[in-house]
């Protein structure tokens, strides 16, 4: 344990999943008493690296040293024993237990037989005091605000006997500015105690503010390691983006006439996440909505498609005002949704591709209006038509959708809404988990849907995708539309900076 040995040294870390190389020979060194930023786009490999450190994944190759000693983080329990703690972006607290119970979950103090409630509460109070946080340890977690839950999550990690490496995975995504400041004070206090801290965030200004050094990942590789004092947000943005496939996509067709607005939002609010959004989408137009994680873009998309509670404000579809209260209602209005969770929210894995496509248009494949049976020939013909238009191999139509690749599965969903003749198609992260070739095809299909007269609303965190695909880009910041860009007159940097809430030089077009 000499001072010149870094507290955490990762070398040659590689993780291969079937079909992809999530991490490719990654090196990372974090000195004791420093905060190290880890940045990169979604899918760059950050989560994989964290999961390896947490003992959730086993690396394909590579070595982890703590204090110069090689360690094997075989299980989450082992990570705990080694003093590696992670504060996850999705809170993992049990809402029906008290703060104190959550903090010492799994290692509750006992008095021989039962949990020793008093020392449980005492130890929780000690940790919270040390953090300078006034949260009642006996309160149920479900009853305290989100920002405080985040602090409880941190307190949980601090009960490690000897915290050596603490990892914060997008800890500020759900926090307001005052809470962010408080969080940073805690993180800095931990650093001063000699803990090595890894800080994962998409908010580059925060990274530059709080971190000493930062490592940039792209496509599973380290592209740069920088000292934060000598770096700008612009430089980090450049490093993160690199050259990507989306840049290879060029729109062939754009609606030159200003089509009638097919979707108009005004003052739309969704719970506390979307706070008054005005936005319209015309026929033949592709509009993207982007923002940092937690800026309200997903809630906005779901609200438009009838899949969110607490929606207020005005929503007009083809001129008629109606806020859909269920996806069923939204579909009747002509609004269809493809979410970021294809498997859980889109596909019927054991049904053939053809039935997956026709499920929302069964009324179109009946023998007749009186004899309401499915006419298999009609179904085959219509499904084949939309499959051809979306680039699904005809041979695939008879197979269970489960066996298709991510790209083809996504195309099946596009085909479903093409068959349904949706007027408004809302997509969240349309190309997540889709391979390069299929990505371009999906952009092509979205363009085709627009050409056929649909309005397309895309929520994406992939900036280059947004740039290449859209007619207009609306940037959300804290639940409001911060700026609207015409991507032909803006750069990725402009959009990324707008997402960070920074002023930009690009013109603002409504």
């Amino acid at each position: 344990m000499t001072a010149d040995v870094p507290l955490l040294r990762i070398t040659g870390m590689t993780k291969r999943f079937p079909g992809t190389l999530a991490l490719d020979d990654v090196d990372l060194v974090v000195e004791r008493g420093t905060i190290h930023g880890l940045v990169g786009e979604n899918g760059a490999g950050k989560s994989t690296l964290l999961k390896i450190l947490a003992g959730d994944y086993q690396p394909t190759a590579g070595r982890i040293e703590l204090d110069g000693e090689e360690v094997h983080v075989s299980t989450p329990r082992r990570a705990h024993e080694l003093g590696i703690g992670i504060v996850y972006q999705e809170l993992s607290l049990l809402t029906n237990l008290s703060v104190a119970h959550n903090i010492s979950l799994g290692s509750e103090p006992t008095n021989g037989l039962a949990i020793d409630e008093r020392s449980l509460v005492d130890s929780a109070r000690r940790v919270l005091d040390r953090m300078g946080v006034a949260v009642d340890p006996e309160q149920k977690v479900g009853k305290i605000p989100l920002a405080e839950r985040q602090l409880v999550e941190i307190a949980k990690v601090l009960t490690l006997r000897r915290p050596r490496v603490l990892i914060f995975d997008e800890p500020t995504a759900a926090l307001g500015q005052a809470d962010v400041d408080r969080l940073f004070r805690i993180v800095e206090a931990l650093r001063d105690e000699g803990v090595a801290i890894i800080f994962v965030s998409h908010r580059y200004r925060e990274v530059l503010r709080v971190c000493d050094r930062a490592t940039v990942l792209r496509n599973g590789r380290v592209v740069a390691e920088v000292a934060c004092a000598d770096t700008s947000v612009e430089h980090l943005v450049e490093l993160t983006l690199g050259e990507k496939v989306a840049a290879a996509f060029h729109r062939d067709w754009r609606s030159d006439v200003a089509g009638e607005p097919v979707l108009e939002l005004s003052g739309l609010e969704v719970g506390a996440r979307v706070r008054g959004v005005d936005l319209s989408v015309r026929r033949g137009e592709i509009v993207s909505v982007c923002g940092l994680l937690g800026s309200g873009q997903n809630q906005l998309a779901r609200a438009v498609a009838g899949d969110a509670p607490d929606v207020t404000g005005t929503l007009r579809v083809k001129g008629a005002a109606a806020v859909p209260r269920s996806p069923r209602q939204a579909l009747r209005l002509g609004i269809a949704l493809i979410t970021e969770n294809r498997q859980e929210e889109g596909l019927f894995p054991d049904m053939p591709v053809r039935s997956n496509i026709s499920i929302s248009s069964l009324g179109r494949v009946l023998v007749s209006r009186v004899l309401r049976l499915i006419d298999p020939r009609r179904e085959r013909r219509l499904a084949a038509e939309v499959a051809a238009a979306t680039g699904i191999a005809q041979a695939a139509l008879r197979r269970r959708v489960r066996v298709l690749s991510g790209g083809n599965q996504q195309k099946s969903l596009l085909a479903r809404w093409l068959m349904r003749r949706a007027d408004v198609l809302v997509l969240i992260e349309p190309t997540r988990g889709v391979d390069v070739g299929a990505k371009l095809e999906i952009y092509r299909e979205l363009e085709e849907l627009a050409r056929r007269g649909a309005g397309v609303l895309v929520v994406s965190t992939d900036i280059l995708e947004v740039m290449a695909l859209s007619d207009r880009v609306a940037v959300l910041c804290q639940g409001r539309v911060a700026r609207v860009f015409d991507p032909r007159h803006a750069t990725e940097q402009d959009i990324l900076l707008a997402m960070q809430g920074a002023p930009t030089r690009a013109e603002v077009t409504a």
Partner: protein
């Protein structure tokens, strides 16, 4: 260039997956037929009575009641639920049909309609509890199991009810196809109708969709509430039909009728390839094969003079084995 290469790779992967998919489907379908065939062969080789026309008739008569109830159970399981109230609904339907015809001397179609109405009512209650109130199917139907059983026993009192209406005798005795009686024909016809309907109606498609992925079904614009309630109502009515047939088979109604029939129905569905953990997979007609397999096993044990209490334990073992097999098969995916 790289996009092309990846697309070619994609096609190859798809082809491989398609082959594996086809093989799995064949294995599933032929598997059940093969098991039925193997049992048939083994039983007929080791028992001279097994294949006698009279015994074959017995097997079919014995499975017809459970067989009809299992159709409803299959639909519920396809939609991702489970119905434990089947046996009690059978009892309730028996009591109503017997009481109305024997005690109140009403015409049998009236009694049948009343019985099916009550059975459908319990099904409706199941559906509302599951789809609207949001209770787990297994718990909701456990509750209605007691409700229906209590109602049935209350109407029946402490008596045995002997039926008098000739329709019951006709159902069990009059042969219509080969030497099989009407009640067997009723069961086969119901399987044919339901299997056809599930395959060709939008409603059938929706059952598979709701059972296969509830979230996706909701986002696809299907009515989860509508489909769930409809499936439970149909299952209730089919249990009602099963009750009517059971009166025909035994000629009398007693307090313990229908007891445990839900498990026999579930076993038939499971042996036929349905899953208790996930809906959306399986075929109605395979449940008939499942019922037939269970029926042959039970019949063989009876021929061989095996103690009925052991037979019950055997069924329990079969239930556990079917669940384990289901888990092993699906766990691999």
């Amino acid at each position: 260039m790289s996009a092309d290469a990846s697309r070619l790779g994609g096609v190859r992967t798809l082809q491989r997956a398609v082959v594996a998919d086809r093989a799995r489907w064949l294995a599933e379908t032929l598997g059940i037929v093969a098991i039925a065939g193997a049992l048939l062969l083994a039983f007929s080789l080791t028992s001279s009575q097994f294949l006698l026309a009279e015994n074959v008739r017995n097997i079919f008569v014995q499975i017809s009641v459970v067989g009809v109830a299992a159709i409803g159970e299959t639909l519920v399981m396809l939609a991702g639920g489970l119905d434990l109230s089947v046996g009690s609904v059978v009892l309730l339907s028996e009591v109503i049909s017997a009481d109305l015809t024997a005690t109140h001397h009403l015409a049998w179609p009236v009694a049948l309609l009343a019985a099916l109405g009550a059975a459908g009512g319990i099904g409706l209650l199941n559906g509302v509890l599951v789809a609207v109130v949001g209770i787990e199917p297994i718990l909701a139907t456990l509750g209605t199991l007691l409700v229906a059983a209590g109602l049935g026993q209350r109407i029946l009192g402490l008596r045995y009810l002997q039926v008098t209406n000739p329709v019951f005798n006709d159902l069990a005795v009059k042969n219509v196809i080969f030497n099989l009686p009407i009640m067997v024909a009723v069961m086969l016809a119901l399987y044919a109708v339901v299997a056809f309907a599930v395959r060709t109606t939008p409603f059938g498609r929706m059952i598979y969709a709701v059972g296969g992925n509830r979230r996706a079904a909701r986002l696809s614009g299907l009515s989860l509430v509508g489909v769930t309630i409809a499936v439970f109502v149909i299952a209730g009515i089919l249990s009602g039909v099963a009750g009517f047939l059971n009166v025909a088979q035994t000629g009398l109604v007693s307090q313990n009728d229908g007891m445990g029939m839900e498990f026999q129905a579930i076993i038939a569905a499971l042996v036929g390839g349905l899953s208790v953990t996930a809906g959306g997979v399986g075929r109605v007609e395979r449940t008939l094969l499942g019922a037939l397999i269970v029926g042959m096993m039970t019949n063989y044990q009876t021929i061989k003079g095996i103690d009925p209490s052991f037979q019950q334990a055997f069924l329990g073992g079969l239930l556990v084995a079917a669940i384990l097999a289901d888990r092993l098969l699906r766990g691999r995916q």
